[in-house]
Amino acid sequence: MPKYIEMPKLSDTMTEGTLVKWLKKEGDTVAMDEPVAEVETDKATMEMSSFDEGTIYKIYVKEGDAVPLGTKLAMVLEEGEEAPANADAPPADSPAATPAEEPEAEEAAPAEEPSSAPTTASGDRVKASPLAKKIAQEKGVDLSGVSGSGPGGRIVKKDVVSATGGSAAKSAAPAAKTRPTPASGEDQRLPLTGMRRVIAERLLESKTTIPHFYLHIEIDAAPMMAIRKQINADAEKSGGNKFTVNDFVLKAAIKAATNVPAVNASFAGDAIIQYGDINLAVAVAVDQGLVTPVIRSAQHLSFEEVSVAMKELAEKARTKKLTPDEMQGGTMTISNLGSYGIDFFDAIISPPQSLILSIGAIVKKPVVNDRDEIVPGLRLNIGLSGDHRVVDGAVGAEYLAALRKYLEQPVLMLL
């Protein structure tokens, strides 16, 4: 029996995946657990491995196609196995027509039902006929808002015409177009990637449903920078782990949350969920978006363990090797734009969390010291965005005070 590589469920909210890139081609052999393709889910792009070993006989889904969960992507034959006669097409039980199990309703509204408008839900290109596209372009119709009546939800002429109130066929025609020459400065429509769509959905949900409030502090980063210099100078010689400014911030944020656990919580409608673990999500910019890998049970990790964990996660994010597990279950988030030269900013909470810290750049600037002298200082701006349903201003302030304590007296966080 031939085996099939199917579109796996790689995240809770995933209803379909886009085959970004085949890492194997027809005729290649695959070992068990060997990566065969890159798949973009609603959350991220990741490698997908084969569960079987053998030879890829036939690839059914081409790069760039978005398909529902469970869709057969390729046929794998064992050594010496003959291809069945109908190998050129995936078997009919492929759920292309009957969408796979509906994901349980989650707070992050999943894509709309695939039967009615799979095109807009696909997070991929808009499927529309060339004629429909031309009419839409001329009429200024946004095709992502048009539901298609053609095969597979493809938008055809009559869908666009009815979206424009049936005027397309009759409206006074401008001079017949000759060869369209795209002028410079012309607007482009960039179809949403799955990641971009999820960012859009979740942050809109957050900003419109969570009552955000914002607190800011400016801390003295000089002691931290001095200690970091010592540690890294030693690491240089011993070949040990080097620490980034961000590592200090992460460790301080974790320590502060153990002191003020009220910030490590979620609003759950009729209750507040107080998390037992601190699962610290860290925003990492990647091509065309960002991912937030999670350092789990961070309260148990030493400073060095936090630093090493972060390095690994960041590397995986850059190489698209993060697993869905590594991106789920964060209880609070840190976003650091310091390396981008941002002095300070306010971040949007990532639901269902209640807190996100926004870390700016360490800036050298004049400060007034205890003796009322103006002296050069190294300052770091930190913002806190809180869900006021969970975190009140005073609690947020208490948390920031703890954070300040650890960052300004870094020795304390090493205890």
Binding site: S129, P130, L131, A132, K134, I135, E138, V156, K157, A173, A176, K177, T178, R179
Partner: protein, 464 residues
């Protein structure tokens, strides 16, 4: 009494395809046929006539083109019985194939004449006159059509012929009259003329193949004239007499003028077809012209009875019938199925030069007030056509002026019926001229003519 999910009455391109599709959907299906599986198409239409036409083309080439190609053929002759026999062999082979498909898909193939016998029931009378009754949750009528004759000229199987008899003649007639210049009339005219029968066509409309684009019809008329086929256009047949020597028709121009008589050994009447209704259809609602009325889901007015294929009206084409049957059957078992009536279909005539078209003619565009751009390319300018020694004809494409969508494609020439498929795909996908122009067509092929005609419509064809 057996209970079926579906009983199909008729085993032609609608019936057998519908039956097999239902079986594929896991249903218990029977198909009733009183002649041979495959219907008119396979036994008495599309397939055997194409076999004959291939004979005609081959003979014509050997007669008229061999020398150009450097062959000297002496004593070229043919055996009429073998010409006819080959056509039958092709049909026989395919009819057996359908019975195999029934077996493979576990469709019960019941030989006999099916009739409706009350709601959910079908009775079948076999060759011995024995009647059995079967029960079915659904019934699909797919009994097709048969040739119509004229009130003053009835089929007699010897001198007054329908298409079915015309492909079985044991002796080749010296002179043949053909009433009707649709696909059937034109194909038989070409076939018999190629073998030396003197052929005269009488057509009431203004052109040969009157449904085609007028420019295409005119080109065919020119070609037929050159081949020696006579035709009287805009001419109606008002009277006929059949004697033991042959048939004599009285014809007169529809625009007025004197009547004249023409004579032939036989007369093929190819003026259209009428529905074949099974027994028990007394309450079935019919259109004015006697075809079965169906809605978008191919439902008739009788509960549980659908109809598909020729008997629900024009176009009477095998590929349309199969499409209808599939939609009728799928919507039977899937309540959410969006069944469609046929709106777009290719039409093909297999004389030489072949004629094929899909979509709107220039005439229809004018009637609908559509602003269009038209592109043409003659096979005379096609390297492949010249190499093949068959450069008659041209491609004519009609695009909407504003958006450049392909509205219609009309081809006359050697492989027109094969070339039209690309045009069907283009219209179905709502392609515009840009997609056609940006599609690289292999060189040298006849299909380059499509590419060039596309460019021509927008003023930048390279090779003309």
């Amino acid at each position: 009494m057996s209970q079926y999910d579906l009983i199909v009455i008729g085993g032609g391109p609608a019936g057998y395809v519908g039956a097999i599709r239902a079986a594929q959907l896991g249903k218990k299906v029977a198909c009733i046929e009183n002649d041979r599986a495959g219907g008119t198409c396979l036994n008495w239409g599309c397939i055997p006539t194409k076999a004959l036409l291939q004979n005609a083309l081959m003979y014509q080439n050997m007669q008229h083109k061999a020398e150009e190609f450097g062959f000297t053929i002496e004593g070229l002759s043919y055996d009429w019985k073998k010409v006819i026999g080959r056509s039958r062999n092709v049909s026989n082979k395919l009819a057996g194939g359908i019975e195999f498909l029934f077996k493979k898909n576990k469709v019960d193939y019941i030989r006999g004449t099916g009739s409706l016998a009350g709601e959910g029931k079908v009775s079948v009378e076999d060759a011995d006159g024995k009647t059995s009754t079967y029960e079915a949750k659904n019934i699909l009528l797919a009994t097709g059509c048969k040739a119509r004759d004229l009130p003053f000229l009835h089929f007699d199987g010897e001198k007054v012929l329908g298409a079915r008899e015309a492909m079985l003649l044991e002796e080749q007639p010296k002179e043949m009259l053909i009433i009707g210049a649709g696909a059937i009339g034109v194909e038989f005219a070409y076939f018999y003329n190629a073998f030396g029968t003197k052929v005269t066509i009488v057509e009431m409309m203004d052109n040969l193949l009157p449904v085609e684009d007028t420019e295409i019809s005119k080109a065919l008329e020119k070609s037929f004239k050159k081949q020696g086929i006579n035709f009287h256009l805009s001419t109606k047949t008002t009277a006929a007499s059949v004697t033991k020597d042959g048939v004599e028709l009285t014809i007169e121009s529809v625009k007025g003028g004197d009547a004249q008589t023409i004579k032939g050994d036989v007369c093929l009447v190819a003026v259209g077809v009428g529905a074949i209704l099974p027994g028990g259809c007394e309450d079935l609602k019919l259109s004015g012209r006697g075809f079965v009325e169906t809605n978008d889901k191919y439902e008739t007015n009788l509960p549980g009875v659908k109809a598909a294929g020729d008997l629900i009206g024009p176009p009477w084409l095998a590929h349309v019938a199969s499409f209808e049957a599939i939609h009728a059957v799928e919507s039977m078992f899937d309540p959410n199925h969006k069944s469609k009536k046929v709106g777009l279909f290719p039409g093909c005539t297999y004389c030489h030069p072949e004629v094929a078209s899909i979509g709107l003619t220039e005439r229809a565009c004018e009637e609908q007030g559509l602003a269009v751009k038209i592109g043409k390319f003659p096979f005379q300018a096609s390297g492949r056509a010249l190499a093949a020694g068959d450069s008659e004809g041209f491609v004519k494409l009609i695009f909407g002026e504003k958006y450049g969508e392909l509205l219609g494609a009309h081809i006359i020439g050697g492989e027109a019926t094969e070339l039209i498929a690309e045009m069907g795909l283009a219209i179905t996908l709502e392609a515009t001229w840009e997609e056609l122009e940006n599609t690289i067509h292999a060189h040298p092929t006849l299909s380059e003519a499509i590419h060039e005609a596309t460019s021509d419509a927008f003023g930048h064809a390279i090779h003309i």
